[in-house]
């Protein structure tokens, strides 16, 4: 069984940061990007906005290094979830995440990470641009292919002789 996946089409992101706000609001009752499991990385000089969020890796290093088994795979959503009362704030997971998708709560010192909102991610709901998509992998793949087609459509057609 394939789980739905949260995929990112960074080209569409305008950096509005609604995802950050809705994430921290739903998890911590505060509109605070530092308490959001998703982050928008901004490189102002180049106009880049890159959403960074947990990829729920197949073989997650964060789960492996956790000394108290606070990170576990949810069998319904496939997400790697944090048991926050088990977390001791040792930061090993933040050290190893290749995406930098794990943060620390500035107040409690514990890990903040995406849990896909139990299978209904708020960030996706509030993403106006379609940057964030939560779908089964085959649908995501199809969407990607369609986007690719749109890009090359013109070239493909212009080679033809149509009158």
């Amino acid at each position: 069984m394939a789980f739905k996946i949260l995929s990112i089409n960074a080209e569409l992101c305008t950096g509005c940061r609604a995802c950050e706000l809705v994430c921290s609001l739903s998890k911590y009752d505060a509109c605070n990007p530092r308490k959001s499991a998703i982050s928008i990385m901004k490189v102002e000089a180049y106009g880049i906005d890159l959403p960074v969020v947990c990829q729920h890796c197949d073989s997650p290093l964060c789960r492996d290094v956790c000394p108290v088994n606070a990170l576990t795979r949810n069998t319904d959503t496939g997400a790697i979830n944090l048991l926050s009362d088990v977390c001791i704030g040792c930061r090993a997971c933040t050290l190893v995440c290749p995406y930098g998708a794990i943060k620390l709560d500035p107040d409690t010192g514990k890990t903040i990470k995406c849990d896909l909102c139990g299978g209904d991610p708020k960030c996706v709901k509030f993403c106006e641009t379609g940057t964030l998509i939560y779908e089964k992998p085959f649908i995501t793949t199809y969407q990607r292919q369609t986007q690719y087609l749109k890009k090359v459509e013109h070239t493909l057609l212009s080679g033809r002789e149509i009158d």
Binding site: S59, D64, V65, P67, V68, N69, I88, C90, R91, V96
Partner: protein
Amino acid sequence: MVYKQYADYYDVVIIGNGIAGNSAATAIGQAVIEKLRVLIISEEDAPLYSPCVMGGYICEDINLDKMFLKTRTDYQNEGIDCALGVEINDVALINKKMVLNSNIVNFGKLIFATGSYPVLPPIQGSQKKGVFFLKTIYDAVKIKFNQARRAVVVGSGPVGIEVAVALKSKGMDVTIIEFLPRLLPKLLDTEAAQFLHNSLVEHGINILLNEKVKSINGNSHVTSVLTENNEVPCEIVVLATGMKPRVDLAKLCNIEIGRLGGIVVDKFLKTNYDDVYACGDCIESVGAFSRENELSLLWHNARKQGEIAGYNSIGFKKPYVGVTNIVAINAFGHFLGSIGYTASDLLSKNRRAEAVKITQSKANLWLIEENGLLV
């Protein structure tokens, strides 16, 4: 207490109740629909716990129940039988039998997850009262509840640093004695080690580098530690001079032991016997980047290896990519992480590596580079 009788036959028997053994058991449980009979054996009479947080336990940041990652009923719920508090002294690998509390147990597959034990350095007087190792939860309890005022920690590996920080936080006078010229010699290069050094000294820990401990003095109880140049008075000594793979049983069963002292396994974590696998601190395995055999003795590697040995023992063919060096340490709120190899380590292998420092706001990062490339 009357011990529970064990079944006559188990599909898989796992020797070792550490993270490696438990990950193997969990993987087996998750991999197949039909219930396989799994038995975990351990000499220690305690359910799975995490040694990595024992420092926190000693200085009372973390209470005892947080250290335990499973309860005895969790094993029952997972359908795993366990024999805790039983040491295995022999296994007949050819007939696939072993004796367990005077019961004969037959098995289909066997997994060695026997872990590691502390190295006893050749120091006179290390049998005295007040001298501790830190490996098991019992050691942690003993260290925590001693009434001493002054402690000496011998060795400045991760365990040494953790104990020193914990004892200092409890209000004791702490001295670290290290034979090599810097702290965490296997994990940090000189400049990074100096940062840690300063931070520990700032918090009042005494550090003696380049000093070899000659003897531990006292009548029956420790009163001081003697090095070549110093005598440090103390009531307790923690010997944190490293861990070694525990392979006594494997050796006795004619399982091949490697040059580094760990059980030799192939890339599927199988030993030189069919149907016998090994994982965790007791094995030597290939480094994910060096492609040479290494001893890892780290939690995350033990967990991953356990999972893979578990799957492969029941017929899967999952290759193991190799060990990675990742250590995270919290020294009085200064967080420190080490990933991969140190420049000194690579230099000793005739590679031209250097540690390049990058400072970003409050954090310092050293990248290990060779000919301008990150290694």
